[in-house]
């Protein structure tokens, strides 16, 4: 029989590295450590609520909330700094290494909504199934499947569209150009 500390340690080692990567993909390096530490504190406090199967997805859901909190705090701080004209340009999240980055892909991703980006990241980077994504986002697996399908289509459309025309949704212009016979 494990005691609480042993259970937590077991869980921590199981999820720590995927959790750190999850956070690192979504924020700057300075914030990663704080968010992972916050996430661990919540996991420790909520240890009894961690499901036996799907623990990692559950932990991602917690990390997501911790990350949102950290980013809210950062935005407040930036707002304060901006008012006294001392603000450096905010660092972009997960700034790609220019030497290896697929710039075209990152640009196409940046033109999608945050919801689409998060679905695509959870699918491709965290390699989650729709059911697991549904745990992270708190929506149904069916909704995940449909939205993911549409997000992939939108990303493909963005990749096929020159950056300058990217804001015209596919099909929109076609409707505008249609003339009555």
């Amino acid at each position: 029989m494990h005691d609480r500390g042993e259970l937590f340690e077991e869980l921590a080692f199981e999820v720590a590295e995927p959790l750190r990567r999850y956070v690192a993909r979504r924020t700057d390096p300075d914030t990663v450590q704080d968010v992972v530490a916050d996430t661990f504190l919540v996991l420790w406090r909520r240890l009894d609520d961690v499901p036996e199967s799907g623990a990692l997805s559950w932990c991602y859901a917690v990390a997501r909330l911790c990350l949102n909190n950290a980013q809210r705090a950062q935005r407040r701080q930036r707002g304060l700094l901006a008012r006294v004209a001392m603000l450096d340009a905010p660092r972009s999240e997960t700034a790609p290494d220019d030497s290896v980055a697929d710039i075209e892909l990152h640009e196409a991703l940046s033109r999608l909504s945050e919801d689409d980006r998060e679905l695509l990241r959870l699918w491709a980077w965290e390699s989650l199934t729709p059911t697991e994504i549904s745990t992270v986002l708190g929506i149904s697996a069916n909704a995940v499947s449909i939205r993911l399908h549409r997000a992939r289509k939108r990303l493909l459309a963005q990749l096929a569209t020159p950056a300058g025309n990217a804001h015209d949704p596919p099909g929109h212009r076609e409707v505008q150009e249609r003339r009555p016979p």
Partner: protein, 197 residues
């Protein structure tokens, strides 16, 4: 094309290259110890975990199996269209872990696909009136029954209610879930239209 996209996205993962040099063991033990000694900073926070989604994951264990009923369900056109095609819920026990990510390409492979409205909910049975066969059928009605009455409304988020309209697919005697069957909605219907035309 989708596989290419997935591969391209994975290659763009910012944590795959420069980030993997530091072993987890070098920091996790420290963080575990620090965490267990410091609970103060989260005491005032409230965390809402998506309980509904978790419930779907736990409950979503039932699969459906088509009761063959002497018919070749891969070609139900051969059957009498006045008699409902009979399906059955297999009951809990099969795992959702085999959930295939939804895509129109996969949907397009389904040999049985229809939309229909629930016209009768009996004891452990649901009768759907088919309004459109996308593929693989000609019957006017489909009956879904369950050997385990407690699982009628379960499965990967499909629950059948009287008067509601559904999109349903089946393969090899099993009604597909994971987004491949759902209550009728414009998004899923558009995917069905794309897959079966």
């Amino acid at each position: 094309m989708t596989d290419d996209l997935e591969e391209r996205l994975r290659a763009a993962d910012p944590t795959t290259s420069a980030d993997s040099t530091r072993p987890a063991s070098s920091w996790v033990a420290d963080l575990v110890a620090a965490t267990m000694n410091d609970q103060s900073s989260v005491k005032s926070r409230r965390w809402r975990v998506p309980a509904a989604a978790a419930a779907i994951m736990v409950l979503g264990l039932g699969g459906y199996a088509i009761a063959q009923n002497g018919q070749d369900t891969t070609d139900p056109r051969a059957s009498n269209s006045a008699r409902p095609l009979e399906l059955a819920i297999a009951g809990a026990g099969t795992s959702l872990s085999s959930c295939v990510p939804f895509s129109v390409d996969v949907l397009a492979e389904m040999p049985v696909a229809f939309s229909g409205t629930v016209v009768e909910v009996g004891e452990g049975t649901v009768l759907l009136s088919v309004d459109h066969w996308y593929r693989g059928g000609a019957t006017e009605q489909v009956e879904i029954s369950s050997p385990d009455l407690s699982t009628v409304s379960l499965d990967g988020a499909v629950s059948f209610s009287d008067g509601k309209r559904y999109l349903v697919t089946a393969t090899n005697g099993v009604v597909n879930v994971c987004g491949f069957s759902a209550e009728w909605n414009a998004d899923t219907a558009a995917a069905f239209d794309e897959a079966f035309t």
